[in-house]
């Protein structure tokens, strides 16, 4: 590739070594407004409410047990008990009951009533590692997130 090409073409090409890119960038980015009404949000909205439309919830809030899920999770979210959520047992029971009717949608763990079995895999998102367009602000802002 000759230098002449680089100057004449509408397509410029630059090759850079690791050392070339070592110094921090001086490119300026505009500071984001955390309360931008147009922006997508993560699980919790700026006003503290739960974002039921968060992609991270997968189909939990929209499926056949969506209402039970919302009731249970809302109860937990707003619970002021010392053991958070301890006043929500009925809601969670209701949710479990519903989910048991749809094993295809909500596969149950074996011999397990309340014990957790590993966080990330059982999180409500179709949880596989993602290069997600919809990460929460915490992960979105880090350009070098990997």
């Amino acid at each position: 590739m000759s230098y002449l090409n680089i100057f004449m073409s509408k397509d410029r090409i630059i090759f850079v070594t690791k050392e070339d890119h070592e110094a921090p960038s001086n490119a300026e980015l505009i500071e984001d407004d955390p309360n931008d009404p147009y922006e997508d949000h993560g699980l919790i909205l700026p006003n503290g409410d739960i974002n039921w439309n968060c992609p991270c919830l997968g189909g939990m809030a929209s499926g056949p047990c969506g209402q039970q899920f919302k009731d249970a999770f809302s109860c937990f979210h707003y619970s002021k008990e010392e053991v958070k959520g301890s006043d929500c047992v009925e809601n969670f029971r209701s949710m479990q009951e519903c989910m048991q009717k749809y094993p295809e949608l909500y596969p149950q763990e074996d011999d397990n009533d309340s014990a957790p079995s590993g966080g990330a895999d059982n999180a409500p998102s179709d949880s596989v590692p993602t290069s997600s367009p919809e990460s929460t602000p915490a992960t979105t802002e880090n350009p070098a997130a990997s």
Partner: protein, 537 residues
């Protein structure tokens, strides 16, 4: 690969102990509704028997059963408790995602993949192309009564008339459904070459217009039966199918030809040097590429198809796949009195995806106003998800404009994978910044086996699926100046970055999105390129 660690912060693991929607290994039986043969779209025929499963009213009516529609359904249900959503689709299938039809499903080791339409993700987990199994949905007859509402899918029915004054639609079988809010997400149909259209039945019988599950199944079968397949079209779909078939070519004794008018694969998307590089890679997948190819006519002779090019070249083949674009489906425009865009095609909608009061359009069929990038129409999967979700939000009172830029991606074999965002048009001036090995590196290290992926999105998010490319011998050392192994390409309009291609660098989409959102004029794009850390994995 990025691990989504979103939920742990707020959701106690002790409470959420189930995982959602494990994909079904078997193809779901499509029995939600009585499936009737799709009637010709002309005159709706009065028929009483077929109406029995059609609800008379749907508070939320979604026309079309693809990705945008499903995303809207989910969004509506999330925001409006107890919402009753009716999807009406011409297809006989429940909503499914398209990208695996030209990618993962072809690479699956599972001999039943064609039947089950399931594929293995990078983490070993099976995933179905169907967004949800049948049990997720409510039957149309139960929709009005079921306690907490739900999503019902009426398959095999086409909406043929829309009465905007009375807020109701008419189906191909004559049934009528009134609505309160309506989404048009009718997608489109594959374009055909005029010369094939006019070439007669023997040629049409041997031509695939690829879009749906049935097209995938049919082509997969054909690939095992014929000796030669020619793909016409050098864009995303054509190139992906060429690579998919090319990979099988040795095992199947199949000749795979790909022809297109441009100089290289993805010629309308990638700058020439990357298009050339891509073309070489596609060749390495076993594809015989014919560029500068304009088809003049196709005929059936001696049990073969003969393709004649304008320059006189003759190509003999057994089967043709035409991948020459999509015609957005706007048949309802007339009866509904909706505007169709003359530049981009599709229904014209505003920045909030609204066509008129109570009517929104999303996905391939929507020509919308993008506040940052101007009026456009986008035919990618993630856009269908993003616009579907946005339409659902606005149908439930949000009034938000299109703001979150959608992205797209393509994988063409083990060496070429890229993600892109914004306006990625090769006619724009571009600046490409590529990683160069230092003097200390050996040629072997320089041509690293970076994480190349075969990815397909989950319903709402891009899922990075990495298959490590194993080569037995290192590729021959290439001139560093021509090795476009990893980098970032900026597409400029009036000195503002309007599009970005992330070339073999992954998980940097958030920063790319940010740069486009800012819409700033940057004096030195190399400084912007630094933000991507292209030298790291």
């Amino acid at each position: 690969l990025v691990t989504e660690s979103v939920v742990e912060a707020s959701v106690p693991e002790s409470i959420i102990e189930v995982s959602v929607t494990e994909p079904v290994a078997e193809a779901p039986a499509v029995t939600q509704t009585a499936v009737s043969e799709p009637a010709p779209a002309a005159e709706p025929v009065e028929s009483t028997a077929a109406h029995s499963d059609v609800p008379e009213h749907a508070p939320y009516l979604l026309i079309g059963g693809g990705t945008a529609s499903f995303a809207a359904a989910r969004s509506i249900r999330a925001r409006d408790p107890g919402a009753r959503v009716l999807i009406v689709t011409e297809e006989s299938e429940l909503p499914y995602m398209r990208p695996p039809l030209s990618k993962e499903l072809w690479f699956s080791d599972d001999p039943k993949a064609t039947e089950t339409l399931s594929f293995k993700q990078w983490n070993g987990k099976e995933r179905s192309i169907y967004f949800q199994p049948p049990s997720f949905y409510v039957s149309p007859t139960d929709l009005a009564k079921v306690e907490n509402g739900g999503v019902a899918v009426l398959t095999g029915r086409k909406v043929v008339h829309m009465d905007v004054r009375e807020n109701k639609v008419k189906l191909s079988d004559g049934a009528e459904i009134s609505y309160e809010k309506c989404l048009i997400a009718t997608g489109g149909v594959p374009r055909n070459l005029q010369v094939i259209d006019r070439a007669g039945e023997e040629v049409m019988k041997r031509t695939t217009l690829f879009r749906k599950i049935e097209d995938f199944r049919s082509l997969e079968k054909i690939s095992r039966e014929v000796k030669s397949i020619t793909i016409i079209g050098g864009g995303f779909l054509g190139s992906e199918l060429a690579c998919a078939l090319g990979r099988r070519s040795t095992d199947l004794g199949l000749e795979v030809i790909q022809m297109f008018p441009e100089k290289g694969n993805m010629g309308k998307v990638l700058p020439e040097y990357l298009s050339n590089w891509t073309t070489e890679k596609v060749r390495k997948e076993g594809v015989n590429i014919i560029m500068d190819a304009v088809v003049k006519n196709v005929s059936y002779k001696n049990d073969k198809l003969e393709i004649k090019l304008k320059d006189g070249r003759l190509i003999e083949t057994d089967h043709v796949v035409a991948a020459v674009g999509l015609e957005p489906s706007v048949e309802l425009a007339k009866s509904a009195g909706l505007e169709v865009d003359s530049d981009f095609g599709g229904y014209r909608v505003n920045a909030e995806l609204q066509a008129r009061s109570n009517i929104w359009v999303a996905g391939d069929a929507a020509c919308f106003y993008d506040i940052k990038l101007g009026r456009r129409r986008v035919e990618h999967h993630d856009h269908a998800v993003v616009s579907g979700r946005l339409a659902g939000e606005n149908m439930t009172g949000a009034s938000k404009p299109y703001w979150h830029q959608s992205m797209f991606w393509s994988d063409l074999g083990p060496d070429v994978g890229y993600e892109a965002i914004g306006i990625v048009d090769s006619s724009l001036p571009t600046v490409g910044v590529f990683a160069k090995a230092t003097a200390k590196d050996t040629p072997k290290a320089a041509t690293e086996q970076s994480g190349t992926g075969i990815r397909s999105e989950s319903e709402t998010e891009a899922v990075a699926v990495t298959l490590k490319a194993e080569t037995t011998a290192p590729p021959p050392p290439v001139q560093q100046k021509e090795d476009y192994g990893k980098g970032v390409v900026f597409y400029l309009r009036d000195n503002v970055v309007v599009g970005i291609v992330l070339w073999n660098v992954f998980n940097r989409m958030p920063i790319a999105r940010k740069i486009i959102k800012d819409g700033e004029q940057h004096a030195d794009l190399n400084e912007v390129a630094k933000l991507f850390n292209i030298h790291e994995d």
